[in-house]
Symmetry: C2
Subunit: 261 residues, 2 copies
Amino acid sequence: MNKIVMIGAGNVATHLSKALAGAGMDISQVYSRTAEHAAQLAKHVGADYTDDIDCLLTDAYAYIFAVKDDVIATLAKAVADRVGDNHLFVHTSGSTPMTCLKEATKHYGVIYPLQTFSKDREVNFKEIPCFIEAVDEDAEGMVRMLAESVSDRVVAMCSEQRRLMHLAAVWSCNFVNHCYDVADGIMQACDLPFELLLPLIDETARKVHELSPRKAQTGPAVRYDRRIIDAHLGLLAGQPQLADIYERMSKSIKEQSEKSE
Amino acid sequence: MNKIVMIGAGNVATHLSKALAGAGMDISQVYSRTAEHAAQLAKHVGADYTDDIDCLLTDAYAYIFAVKDDVIATLAKAVADRVGDNHLFVHTSGSTPMTCLKEATKHYGVIYPLQTFSKDREVNFKEIPCFIEAVDEDAEGMVRMLAESVSDRVVAMCSEQRRLMHLAAVWSCNFVNHCYDVADGIMQACDLPFELLLPLIDETARKVHELSPRKAQTGPAVRYDRRIIDAHLGLLAGQPQLADIYERMSKSIKEQSEKSE
């Protein structure tokens, strides 16, 4: 009766499955087109696994699609062909509208956990904001129950807002991490350990708990210290792509700071 | 005998003066060309203040120049003309070579605290890595004593390494904070509170304590999910400068991830 099938075995599927299983939910089966990945995750959560859609359980109440955005709709149709259209289908994507599930079933929704998941790193799912959406009240009840079993921060949100929030997440996580990566490369080039930057990285993140990022900005770009900016561009001369990003980021910082003056 | 004069009253001067005073050092005088700023900081650390170089104390053992990079050399010369060349001169800049002080005095060095300082935010100076350099052993002894009085993480470093580390700091702090600022703008545009992003921001920073940034990378760029990237570029169409940075960051993430495969 309370069976859940997880479609996908990547980072989101893994962390969400573990959290659901940890909350006492019954993940009965994991599907991935790569049997090995399905098996690995299934083992963690005490589930069966399959790489064959024709072997999917047909009596689960929810099928959660934690797969790449561009395969959600097609895969949902294929799963519905096997299991029928009387189950709850949920996807976990930030940028995909909820309606991409409507061709597959009448009962659908979204649980979008806003976090950066890596396989080898545990996270405390309870703290992760989960944004939910559902096609009707019945579906919303089920989606909310699932989301609240794993997270203390469940917020209803429409597809359009979720899409913009995903864009904000790319800036505040993926691009931030790439900045760390560029810094790591610079440190390596002069034989310095990346660890020396960690207090700075931590304080930069902590600061925006109290100050707006606009107010928290420091450094040569916000002062528009052209001498230092040019010296830094000189140091990046061998990496024109990074020099280019450096110049554009500095200009953008300057313009934003002028706007708020 | 143990008098220190602080030249400058900006963010670095403020936090460093407070830390030195807190460690029992005698900040006797604060100089700023803006009397009001000098007075403000002087009040905090129980010092005199002046906006007139001709009123500088002449019997301090150390003069610390926490001022904009491009005025350090000129100001140091002017101070030496007033106080003589027998004192320790120290600057606090990441990108300025130590030798910019050599025209002013025989005894000089650098204390570069690697942190982002804002006036309204207290920091724990003890945790801040401080990178020191000095012209000779005598000066190094004094510089180290000053640095170790405020920080538990004092590391000797030459001007060239410090210059590169400052560049790494711009990426891992200033550019990171600008990414937060862009995300804040996106959230505001869809009436969502920036706070929703904080768990993601915190985890992104925590992750690189354990994984290298290269390994920690997630998101549409590292998967090079062109459909999402193009959708995000569409959302940024009204801000061509940000769209441009988005495209270049995504390409750079993709290329770095291909390199490490």
